[in-house]
């Protein structure tokens, strides 16, 4: 099992060394002043308090990058990889609302999946339910990649179509998101329950909010939420508005 490391603090890289608890403890002792010591109780050993498993369908997904993010700011505070059984842990995570995010790396994966949870504090433990990275052939349909089309308006909107197979776990909603080529979001649809979303070209985010978007290259993708709370994102696709 791979333990996640907190990106800030002392000795965190040492703790990330694979091989289990004993080598880690020896390493901490050898490091001497590099360890975190509590007066009168000896060296302090980081305790995993967030655990979970990433799967592909039913099997564990090995060596998947997993991040722990602040749910409000999306700041990454720790990262790790799954072990051959798909398991991961993060240690010494303080109280707060967090998001575990795993990135797809194989053909047929979601682009990413995530799960948000509340943690009472470092003494509390959160066990994340199995998160399935397999996309079950969910895909973007229209518009196709690299297509050029007139910029959408309320009088000539663009239609986004996608396929979310029934084999997937129970879907709560899907949203279409549109980004500038630089990555900033310009629009996010309302929660759709059908595989089709219309956009009239009016930006809802950023400096252009409330105005029709200018011509240029954009990306769109579909974000879905399942009834058990897991969220997943399909791959991005570009399109060019003229």
């Amino acid at each position: 099992m791979h333990a996640g490391h907190i990106k800030r603090g002392i000795g965190e890289r040492a703790w990330r060394a694979r091989g289990g608890w004993i080598p880690a403890v020896l390493g901490i002792l050898a490091a001497g002043c590099g360890v975190d010591v509590h007066d009168g109780v000896g060296p302090r050993i980081p305790m995993p308090n967030v655990r979970g498993t990433i799967t592909r369908q039913s099997g564990g997904a090995d060596d998947v990058d997993v991040e722990l993010r602040d749910a409000a700011t999306a700041e990454v505070i720790a990262e790790t990889q799954t072990d051959p059984d798909g398991a991961f842990t993060f240690a010494d995570i303080p109280a707060g609302r967090w998001e575990v995010k795993a990135s797809g790396e194989e053909e047929g994966d979601f682009d990413s999946i995530s799960w948000q949870f509340d943690l009472g504090g470092a003494d509390s433990t959160a066990v994340i339910p199995d998160l399935d990275l397999h996309a079950y052939a969910a895909r973007l349909d229209d518009p196709p990649a690299d297509v050029r089309m007139d910029s959408p308006t309320p009088f000539q909107p663009v239609q986004f179509r996608f396929t979310l197979p029934e084999a997937m776990r129970l879907l709560e909603w899907a949203r279409v998101q549109c980004f500038r080529s630089q990555g900033s979001t310009v629009w996010e649809s309302t929660k759709a329950t059908a595989n089709e979303v219309t956009w009239n070209g009016v930006a809802s985010e950023g400096d252009d909010a409330g105005r029709l978007i200018p011509a240029g290259e954009y990306y769109w993708r579909v974000k879905v939420r399942f009834s058990d709370g897991m969220e997943a994102r399909l791959e991005r696709r570009n399109l060019i508005f003229e």
Binding site: T153, F155, T190, V197, T198, V202, G210
Partner: protein, 468 residues
């Protein structure tokens, strides 16, 4: 007999002297959001404060159905018990009409001949005489949970759960229907050139020519559920959508602007001076300028589904919230006054040119604010002696008000004109006597005539004659 003759002579005199009796009915709130354009704007006076006149409890809940005001100041509202009630200016039931479906979401529209049109959830458009009698019904293919609107030629337009916009002649025959792709819960607005605008669950705002053909349609990014379009005098149309935007279009198919509220928009926009827009979204009332920029917002303790109304002479905005409070704001977003009714308010306020606001809550109660007319009958006002001594009387302006019996005056003294309309409210500070310069609430000298001076809730008034 002498007293009766005196009363008749006095009313004849009042009829001759009253400056507003004829005009009072000319600008009443006869359909949803006040006029055919659904503008939510009135040039009538707003109440000065939260002084409650009366409340009338109907038999069941009231949703987005809103009160309307007839030319004789009768107030009409429907409820979930399939009842449409007519209540007098004094808060007394005039009649009850019972239909076959509930009226909790349909605001009646009053035609020039006094006929009321209201939609029932049973799919019938009801035509009801001013006396509460059933004239006819028109059966649509789905429930009617929108408010009818009346064109200049008397055509009645309404949206229906079957996704169609209906145009019905005043003789109950169908003129045309226009089918959208989904349910219509948005009430049609009629532009200055007769174009009918309506939103649909299919997410589009439709502009329909008066002959029933499509002029244009515009896609929003979400359903248009309960928000009804509002049209300005210039023909610009404003609508909110479940995609969180409030949109502005010109009547000739031009996108003007959109404002992202980050909440579904169920409240219908009201149009203020200089193109300003007032609309509820989430827990806030938003004030947008003519370019769609936020000027201010005002947070309530609930959701603002109620469609605001704007009193142009006083520059105040009134609306309700699901927190059970009716809010009256200044044009800069400051609180003028509030009144807690205790039940969520989904309904839109109705303005009266007699100086009242009428609002309904979801518990089924109709509330009247403003003129301080509790249990006062106009005949009593005209005949019963008042408790306030007025000197000199007649007067050319200044008058001294003194309580008979040397007691302190009531905290507030109301002055009504001959039609019953309140023209000013005087704060006494509990003194035994005060002076008043004969001007109205804005400091404008009142015209010659008879005025009634009284304490709130009292069935008596002192008569004052202003002369020049």
């Amino acid at each position: 007999m002498a007293s009766r003759l005196g009363t008749i002579r006095l009313w004849l005199l009042l009829a001759l002297l009253s400056p507003t009796l004829g005009a009072a009915g000319a600008d009443t709130w006869r359909s949803f959001h006040g006029d055919a354009r659904n503008s939510g704007f009135t040039s009538c006076d707003a109440p000065f404060d939260s002084l409650l006149d009366w409340s009338y409890v109907t038999s069941d809940s009231i949703g987005t159905a809103s009160p309307v005001v007839g030319p004789d100041e009768t107030i009409y509202i429907g409820n979930a018990d399939k009842e449409l009630v007519a209540v007098s200016f004094w808060g007394r039931l005039r009649w009850t009409f019972r239909g076959e479906g509930n009226f909790r979401s349909s605001t009646p529209a009053i035609a020039s001949d006094g006929t009321l049109y209201v939609g029932g959830a049973d799919g019938r458009l009801y035509a009801i005489g001013p006396d509460g009698s059933r004239k006819w019904t028109f059966l649509a293919h789905g429930g009617i949970r929108t408010s009818p609107n009346i064109g200049e030629d008397g055509t009645i337009y309404f949206g229906c759960d079957d996704g169609r916009l209906y145009a019905v002649n005043p003789d109950s025959t169908r003129r045309w229907v226009y089918a959208t792709a989904d349910t219509i819960r948005s009430s049609p607005a009629i532009g200055p050139d007769g174009t009918i605008f309506v939103g649909s669950y299919d997410g589009h705002l439709y502009a329909i020519w008066p002959d029933g053909s499509l002029r244009w349609s515009a896609a929003t990014g979400g359903k248009i559920k309960y928000c009804s379009p509002a049209v300005s005098e210039e023909g610009n149309v404003y609508i909110g959508s479940y995609d969180g935007f409030v949109y502005a279009f010109s009547s000739d198919r031009e996108f003007l602007w959109a404002y992202f509220t980050d909440h579904v928009v169920r409240s219908s926009p009201a149009i203020g001076p200089e193109g300003r827009i007032y609309v509820g979204a989430g827990d806030r009332l938003l004030a947008l300028d003519a370019e769609g920029h936020l000027e201010w917002d005002y947070s309530t303790g609930g959701t603002v589904i109620s469609s605001p109304a704007y009193w142009g002479d006083d520059d105040v905005i009134g609306f309700g919230s699901t927190d059970g409070v009716f809010y009256c704001l200044h044009e800069d977003g400051g609180t003028d006054w509030t009144f807690t009714v205790g039940e969520p308010i989904l309904s839109s306020p109705a303005a009266s040119c007699w100086g009242n606001i009428y609002i309904a809550d979801s518990g089924g109660t109709l509330w009247s604010f403003g003129a301080g007319t509790t249990d006062v009958d106009p005949v009593l006002v005209a005949t019963a002696p008042g408790s306030i001594d007025l000197r000199p009387n007649p007067t050319r302006g200044w008058v001294e008000l003194r309580s008979r019996g040397a007691r302190p005056l009531p905290e507030r003294i109301l002055v009504h004109d001959a039609s019953g309309r309140r023209v000013t409210s005087l704060a006494t500070g509990g003194q035994a006597q005060i002076a008043w310069d004969g001007s109205d609430r804005r400091g404008v000298r009142l015209p010659v005539g008879i005025y009634y001076v009284r304490a709130p809730g009292r069935e008596s008034a002192s008569h004052l004659m202003l002369i020049r």
